[in-house]
Amino acid sequence: MNLDAKIPSGPIADKWDNHRFDMKLVNPANKRKFKVLMVGSGLAGGSAASTLAELGYDVECFCFQDSPRRAHSIAAQGGINAAKNYQNDGDSVHRLFYDTVKGGDFRSREANVYRLAQVSANIIDQCVAQGVPFAREYGGQLANRSFGGAQVSRTFYARGQTGQQLLLGCYAGLNRQIAAGKVRMHPRTELLDIVIVDGTARGIVTRDLVTGKIQSWAGDTVVLATGGYSTVFYLSTNAMGCNVTATWRAHKRGAGFANPCFTQIHPTCIPVSGDHQSKLTLMSESLRNDGRVWVPKRADDDRQPGEIPDAERDYYLERKYPSFGNLAPRDIASRSAKEVCDEGRGVGPGKRGVYLDFRDSVERVGKQGVSERYGNLFDMYERITDENPYERPMRIYPAPHYTMGGLWVDYNLMSNVPGLHVIGEANFSDHGANRLGASALMQGLADGYFVLPYTIGHYFATYSPDKQPITTDHPEFKRAEAEVNARIERLLNVQGSKTVDSFHKRLGRIMWEGCGMGRNAQGLTAALEQIPALREEFWSGVRIPGSGSEFNIELEKAGRVADFLEFGELMCRDALARDESCGGHFREEHQTADGEAVRNDEEYCHASVWEHKGDDQEPVMHREALDFENVALATRSYK
């Protein structure tokens, strides 16, 4: 497997500028001859589709939702980082770069992260020009707030719905190109396979979710902007439709999957209320700016929170991390919550919860002041739990939220399969082993607006034009379509007795137990035995009513769960192979006496990239060594 990251030479601050000059250009008149197949229409896919269309490329864009406006980017609450230094508090491109590399626990690629920090400022300019209504001060200037893992205020936000506002801006740009006829949008259409011709990605096979029609699409490049795979845990903060299918299908067609075990467990979610639970709801991390996290000092303390005096409360984040306090990064905050709950000091039903208390903020700025900052989040909390957070502390618990792992890409955001680009959460490159708050929106838009539109031109300009134009009549398309049809037939013909969701829930429990917030060799080995057995049971016991040629919700879910049942195994395999603790990957065997993660830079300062070798063979791991020339490898400390 060729893992040349194609990192440009020169000082880190000049790499992107140099590279932009070195890349070849496509003549404007020729751009319309290149067809881009864009899969996914969230912040990354939507911004890339509209920008590529503006440049003149011919774009087909696909999403499984009924409208691109509903992509899961919409659910991001807290904000988007940018190194604008509007607050004059010492921020800079280099500091954002440093914070992100350190926050990622030194498992990301420096050059990519630096570029991300560089273009971050352009993103804010672009979004404002599109009409994104960011929060503002009375003087009309943009407002900022601080977010976990940073000591400067560089986060731009739009109340508690920054993701929705950014996505609507991006979707508006996409709409403009759809109206101009330069993007053809295909909603309720799901990718089921990728077509590789002569080693190059040349097309996709999709299913129309309304009619069931299987169709092939040929193009000059395939871009996957299909998000992350947190729903492998069944319960996560991701939307119900989020899935790994596109990236997993690409992996099975040859694309390397990097660091699948790097998942982020977000510390502030509403705890599980019962077996019926279908998803977990995030409470924005921004709440940690004013809320204080605590549990009772004593285990099994059943008093009401208001009856517990301060002296008997353990504000454990403030105690353990005095300089960052409640703003400690997500992985650390999550792990600390698990720790106190494991000690029996958890609160609420089931004792899997900690308090996030606004008592002191209400005293300081008044109920009105708190409501102005977090009103909609408080309302949401009350709707779900029937408890009033102005009067009683919120109960929160960590939940799977984001996946740093994804398909391996080089500096140009192209996977090891020529012609297959991967952007946004679907790729692996920028967040290392832990993502900082408000960086996902930044990365999605950076990839889509300011990186891919340049690098894709270079790909087209260097891609040999003497290749025969390919149509969907090519035998590789016919083969892929036949395989897709056969798989659907196979799923429908199982005719077992159990629902798709029941398998998904069981897989989720295996993953949460074995490959969740804390991992160890024993648990991972057990999961690696349970998953294939569950997969076998799925293929003999799942029941899918109806046919493939109609709107069939069970069939949709079954295809995705079938892929998770394969992918989950790779995730555990990766977690087992990475015998160190780093970021969100906490191997219990590797911790200090007071429970901090212990990295092993000697052996694991690399990205683990997995190659699929066939359904009945073990995958092979390759390594991309990560060099840290600008941020010295150091133990990450937030004390």
């Binding site: 659910a75 993701g163 929705q164 903060t237 019962g274 019926h276 949401m380 009513p545």
Partner: protein, 250 residues
């Protein structure tokens, strides 16, 4: 809790629909409405019947995918709440709950409770954007925007495009949705430039999709999960009048 559910079943757009009655047992007050339907679907599949198709995705009230008219009210009885955020504690043991899709010519049926809301996308394609290409935007703070104006733009931009306004309107009018997008963009200086052209194009696109005429019942405002006010419709009417009289022909 036990509930009796009257659920609209319709195989596809061309077949007639009908109500089916199901008993939901073991309903917990902490379940969301959609989780209650998940349990119904699990039971249906286990009985070898076809599950009830309904739209949903984020289940945290922001993606706008979920719909449903519950006991005659779009998104059900709780104010400012999407169906996915509606919890069963809003119902009583023994209640009969009638569940219908959003019904409108502009929202053709797909299956069961699922409808096609792509008319909203097409309306926005007619002008719901600011014509700016990527790159070359001035510094974000180069254009100060007063907090009050920015907040009003935000109030309008909070629309999640769920279509409850259409579903609740006795006339199946889409004016709250359309006016919210127009208000969002026209309250920002960068969007005000194209205001007249936008309002004319979007209103004509809305009419072309078969939505009804607003007759000022304000049912839309009452069910809107994001509490978008009807004063935006008044702004749109005024904007349309002015554009019709003074704007260059489109």
């Amino acid at each position: 809790m036990k509930l009796t559910l009257r659920v609209w079943r319709q195989r596809n757009a061309s077949e007639q629909g009908r109500f089916e009655t199901y008993e939901a047992t073991d309903v917990s007050p902490d379940m969301s409405f959609l989780e209650m339907l998940d349990v119904l679907n699990r039971d249906l599949v286990e009985r070898s019947e076809e599950p009830v198709a309904f739209d949903h995705d984020c289940r945290e009230g922001i993606c706008g995918t979920c719909s449903l008219v519950i006991n005659g009210v779009a998104h059900g009885p709780r104010k400012a709440t999407t169906t996915c955020q509606l919890h069963m504690r809003s119902f009583k043991d023994g209640d009969t709950v009638t569940i219908e899709p959003f019904r409108a010519t502009g929202f053709p049926a797909v299956r069961d409770l699922v409808v096609d809301r792509s008319a909203f996308d097409r309306i926005l394609q007619s002008g719901g954007f600011i014509s700016v290409n990527t790159g070359g935007a001035p510094d974000a703070n180069a254009l100060p925007i007063g907090k009050a104006e920015a907040d009003t733009a935000f109030d309008a931009a909070a629309c999640i495009g769920c279509g409850a306004c259409v579903a609740a309107c006795p006339n199946a009018a889409a004016m709250l949705f359309v006016s919210a997008k127009i208000a969002h963009l026209s309250h920002l200086p960068q969007g005000a430039v194209e205001h007249e052209q936008r309002v004319v194009r979007m209103v004509h696109a809305m009419d072309g999709e078969g939505f009804g005429t607003c007759r000022n019942y304000y049912e839309c405002e009452a069910v809107c999960p994001k509490e978008i006010p009807v004063s935006f419709i008044a702004d749109m009417n005024r904007g349309y009048l002015k554009a019709a009289l003074t704007a260059a022909s489109d």
